[in-house]
């Protein structure tokens, strides 16, 4: 081995504490990056091949009813590759052993023609036989949640009629990778399922004999998807068609897409922060090392080593640290990725979801880490390279000391002699102090994130299910009903209050930006399902105009007061130009709300309701459930408490795990930065400290000088770090906010106190290590060494 590389190894050995500290910080960043990007690759790869294998449609449209003969005309549309028509409906289930009702969506499978698109991936059993059978295939999520196997029978109500369904198979569908009620942000596999039945029988049950109400299609290669969608719209319009939507807006595909977006955000944000901290640390450690090795550098130059050799030698320090960080971080990232894959299997139902390490992104991460550290140390290395060899032979001139400005202010009388020395040291090297402070502040700021995540989840749950949605249950009718239907719901056992809502599918437009949403009409005096602003205050429903989710306003580029067009996709499909009356805060999905009477006027209808939010007497849930199950008009029931529970169990748990991991990372960073700073300060002051010992100071007093210096920096860094942490968290949350879910920015004093404690404990540990070293300082060695 080249002697310079031997030197490298041995020098690394003597500074191994620091090397490990920096490498671990780097490893944290790389771990998140490798984990997140590998998951992105795994999810995308699995998704794409699954979509291809099951021929997932690219364009979808729902309509009221069209004769099957229209299928041929659809198939002839220019730009269409293949098309499937089907019937689709809602069903409710009365499951033995579960008092509350469950519901689902049921699709037809073609009887006597091959299925073209959205092919099922059969997991167990078989597909239903053609003909008049009550056989169904059940989505695997629901089947597993209930332990259903082929052979089981279920009682269901389809379109008001009781049916006994016989499960013949379980399956996965590319349309339900994320198996939720369309429009729901969260899976609730015990209470929602997807079913497939043969076409003839289902059409009969839904009163759609010889007709279809749902279209799925793919676009011919080279054809324009938007044009095709417009043609489909034109063709279906007379049949009560709603505007066609593409894959990007298919709810399951969108959920998956949004999750991938969030992962990408994490893959950016975390490594950026951690790698910058690591770069600071490497830079500080190397600057110190190079100053310590001034003479060695001069010596190498005298021997004839050129700038490249010397620069390269010191860059290798950084690269060695990066190497260790990459191995540890890469390994940990892969492990985390595996673990997360297991979690994802619960959320995203693929035939198989395997974790594929993404070596390309690992390489990118490695390059980024190397790049960032090299950038960080370039200044220090440049110092080494341009160090004039003759000058370096001369001992460093004695440092210039001045009275610190603190002393000039007269504050020194408050400080002990040790503290005074500490202050002077700080003032002598203000830049170094500044960068140490910055590193400490960054470490502090990172410790804010996990606390903010935890409180964000708690806030979200309280906001969503205690403040906003105060209803115990939300029932939706299978078809919009009249005031009488509302009355009937109000008379269900245990119902103490009912508030109607009217939801219509619509397209909102602002110039070229548009979103398919459901516009919900609510009574102006809503007590149950309340709309809240960002501070949790109720927002009154305006007489005119729309209230939008802040996220929806953002994606449409709208502000309060801006004009917006509503193109309703139901009934006469009225179009209304109105204004954005304001925005409301919510954390999942994107919604638009207006006064229910205004919406009805727009729809030219009387007291039509889509469903109702209900306050239910907690003592009478059983009766309520039983009655709901027996009500043929009720298409779905959402139970607020169950939703909350299910959120807590799934998303909450997952975020909790993430939070624990990030908390661990934050600890690593905090300790690493403080320890690195302490070691640097120690090696810098070794001679002074030894001199103090020689002239009779106690080890304790000597340690006080050094620790005083670090303590001043730490105490200054904490407020800066807390402030930075707030911004950092905001940035992280923005990076990971999607139309599906987003986290509120909640910064509580508990988070701040925890962050401060983490930093102080890390400091105390580092100080303990450093003062132990001071106690063991070999005075003679230190004084003999000419550094």
């Amino acid at each position: 081995m080249h002697p310079l590389d031997l030197k490298l190894l041995r020098d690394l050995g003597t500074m191994k504490g620091q090397v490990i500290a920096v490498a671990l910080v780097m490893a944290c960043g790389l771990a998140v990056m490798v984990m997140a990007l590998s998951l992105v690759v795994s999810l995308e790869g699995t998704r794409d091949s699954y979509y291809r294998a099951q021929r997932f449609a690219e364009v979808f449209a729902e309509l009221k009813r069209a004769p099957n003969s229209l299928r041929a005309r659809l198939a002839e549309l220019p730009g269409i590759a293949s098309v499937d028509t089907r019937v689709r409906g809602a069903l409710t289930l009365d499951l033995t052993g579960m008092s509350e009702p469950a519901d689902g969506t049921i699709f037809s499978l073609p009887d006597n023609r091959p299925q073209q698109l959205n092919l099922l991936h059969l997991r167990k059993g078989r597909l239903p036989e053609a003909g008049d059978h009550n056989e169904v295939v059940v989505g695997e999520g629901f089947a597993k949640a209930h332990g259903f196997e082929p052979g089981h029978e279920l009682d269901a109500t389809i379109y008001g009629a009781r049916e006994r369904l016989r499960i013949v198979g379980t399956a996965l569908s590319p349309e339900f990778i994320y198996e939720t009620r369309p429009g729901d942000a969260l899976p609730d596999p015990r209470r929602f399922g997807v079913f497939w039945m043969n076409e003839r029988r289902l059409a009969a049950a839904l009163d759609l004999d010889g007709a279809f109400n749902s279209v799925a299609a793919t676009v011919a290669p080279g054809a324009n998807r938007r044009e095709l969608m417009a043609r489909i719209d034109t063709l279906l319009e007379p049949y009560g068609g709603q505007v066609a939507y593409d894959r990007e807006n298919q709810f399951s595909a969108k959920q998956l897409h949004d999750e991938i977006t969030t992962l990408r955000g994490f893959a950016m944000a975390f490594p950026t922060i951690f790698l910058s901290v690591a770069a600071f640390m490497t830079s500080a450690a190397l600057t110190r090392l190079i100053r310590l090795q001034r003479e060695q550098i001069a010596q190498l130059k005298a021997l004839g080593y050129g700038s490249a050799a010397i620069g390269g030698h010191y860059l290798k320090f950084a690269l060695a640290i990066v190497g260790i960080g990459a191995v540890v971080g890469g390994g940990f990232g892969l492990w985390l990725g595996q673990a997360m894959t297991v979690v994802y299997r619960r959320f995203f139902l693929f035939p198989e979801l395997h974790f594929h390490p993404d070596w390309a992104s690992a390489a990118v991460g490695l390059l980024a880490a190397a790049g960032v550290s090299l950038l960080g140390v370039s200044g220090a290395v440049w110092q080494a390279v341009k160090l004039p060899p003759a000058e370096a032979m001369r001992p460093e001139p004695p440092a210039e000391f001045r009275r610190s400005w603190i002393e000039r202010l007269g504050l020194h009388r408050l400080a002990s002699p040790s503290m005074r020395m500490a202050l002077r040291n700080l003032q002598r090297k203000p830049w170094q102090a500044f960068f140490t402070l910055l590193g400490l502040a960054l470490a502090t700021s990172i410790t804010i994130i996990p606390g903010a995540m935890r409180d964000g989840i708690a806030y979200l749950m309280d906001f969503q299910w205690t403040q906003a949605q105060r209803q115990g249950a939300t029932v939706s009718f299978i078809e919009p009903g009249s005031a009488a239907a509302l009355g009937a719901v109000g008379r269900l056992p245990g119902v103490m209050g009912a508030e109607a809502f009217r939801a219509v599918p619509a397209r909102l437009r602002n110039g070229h930006r548009e979103r398919r949403v459901s516009v919900t009409g609510l009574p102006r005096e809503s007590r149950l399902n309340r709309l809240l602003d960002e501070r949790g205050r109720a927002v009154a429903m305006p007489l005119h105009g729309l209230l939008l989710s802040a996220k929806l306003a953002e994606v449409l580029g709208l502000d309060a007061g801006d004009p917006v067009r509503i193109e309703v996709q139901e009934g006469r499909r009225p179009v209304l130009d109105t204004v954005v009356a304001g925005t409301i805060t919510d954390f999942s999905g994107i919604g638009a709300y207006m006064d229910i009477d205004s919406l009805r006027r727009l729809m030219r209808e009387g007291g039509t309701v889509s469903g109702a939010h209900l306050a239910v007497d907690a003592a009478r849930w059983e009766e309520f459930h039983a009655q709901v199950k027996a009500s043929p008009r009720i298409g779905s029931v959402m139970l607020t408490a169950k939703l909350r529970e299910s959120f807590q169990k799934t998303t909450g748990e997952m975020m909790g795990t993430m939070q624990a991991v990030y908390f661990g990372f934050a600890m690593v960073v905090a300790f690493g930065v403080v320890y690195n700073g302490a070691r640097i300060a120690l090696s810098e002051r070794q001679r002074d400290l030894a001199t103090l010992r020689v002239i009779g100071f106690q080890p304790r007093e000597v340690a006080a000088v050094l620790i005083g210096e670090l303590l001043v920096l730490t105490l200054l860094a904490i407020p800066v770090g807390l402030w930075m942490g707030g911004h950092l968290t905001r940035w992280m949350i923005e990076m990971s906010s999607t139309e599906t879910v987003r986290l509120p920015l909640v910064l509580t004093s508990r988070t701040y106190v925890t962050a401060v404690l983490v930093i102080l404990v890390s400091s105390a540990l580092s100080f303990a290590v450093v003062s132990r070293r001071i106690h063991r300082l070999n005075l003679l060695d230190v004084l003999k060494a000419r550094d």
């Binding site: 002697p3 030197k7 041995r10 190498l300 005298a302 021997l303 004839g304 050129g306």
Partner: protein, 238 residues
């Protein structure tokens, strides 16, 4: 010596001015000098007289403010960093007062630093043996005495068979006994390898072993004395 031979170093009007802060220091002020192959030169002068400055310029560690400095045909006065590096690597061996070994490398590895670079280096063991260090090859600097460290430094300097060996107070940090041993080693290099050796000292008695003794004072050469009769290192006293 035969002054009509081609000098290795050709120095004319060499001036070095340090302009740090308020004061300007004329460390060297118009030095004229020729140094020849195989010579052993002793540079004498009070502290601050410019000895190290001169040596550093000769060794290509620094560049002069003005004047002419040639090594053989090569102009060093305005050479760039890469040229100076190459010059140091190919031509010069340095020995400094404080041994200047890399503390994290053993004696053998310190010497390997040079043999890795040089075109036609000595085998490391030969260099070590030459300095009587065979049994110390695998010791770290901190495990050796000052004299041993300095001998490693010399072994390192000569391992590349330099044409020029520049020594800045090589015995300054050593006791008499060890100092003599080190000087013997340096003198041996001069004698056996024909290397041009320049030794800085402010110990006038060392001057006895030189072919020529150059006195510096305030950055100028005040005297160049040729020793008719060179004393042996063994007889030195200080």
């Amino acid at each position: 010596m035969t002054p009509d031979r081609q000098p290795l170093f050709h120095v004319r009007g060499l001036t070095k001015i340090y302009s740090g802060g308020e004061v300007e220091v004329r460390a060297l002020d118009g030095v004229d000098l020729d140094l020849y192959e195989g010579e052993l030169i002793v540079l004498l002068g009070a502290s601050g007289s410019g000895k190290s400055t001169l040596l550093n310029l000769l060794g290509g560690l620094d560049t002069p403010t003005s004047g002419e400095l040639k090594y053989r045909e090569e102009e060093l006065a305005d050479a760039d960093a890469a040229t100076l590096t190459r010059f140091r690597r190919d031509v010069v061996g340095f020995i400094f007062q404080f041994y200047n070994l890399i503390p994290s490398l053993t004696a053998r590895e310190n010497i390997a630093l040079i043999t890795e670079l040089a075109e036609d280096p000595m085998p490391i063991d030969e260099a070590l043996d030459l300095m009587g260090l065979g049994d110390r090859a695998d010791h770290f600097p901190s495990q050796m005495s000052g004299g041993q460290q300095q001998r490693v430094a010399i072994a390192r300097a000569i391992a590349k068979r330099p044409e020029v060996l520049l020594c800045d107070e090589p015995t300054g940090a050593l006791d008499v006994q060890t100092g003599i041993a080190v000087l013997e080693a340096i003198e041996q290099v001069n004698r056996e390898l024909g290397t041009l050796v320049v030794i800085i000292t402010h110990n006038a008695s060392i001057a006895d072993i030189a072919h020529r003794v150059i006195h510096l004072s305030d950055g100028r050469i005040t005297e160049i004395r040729e020793n008719e009769e060179r004393g042996s290192v063994k007889s030195l006293r200080w």
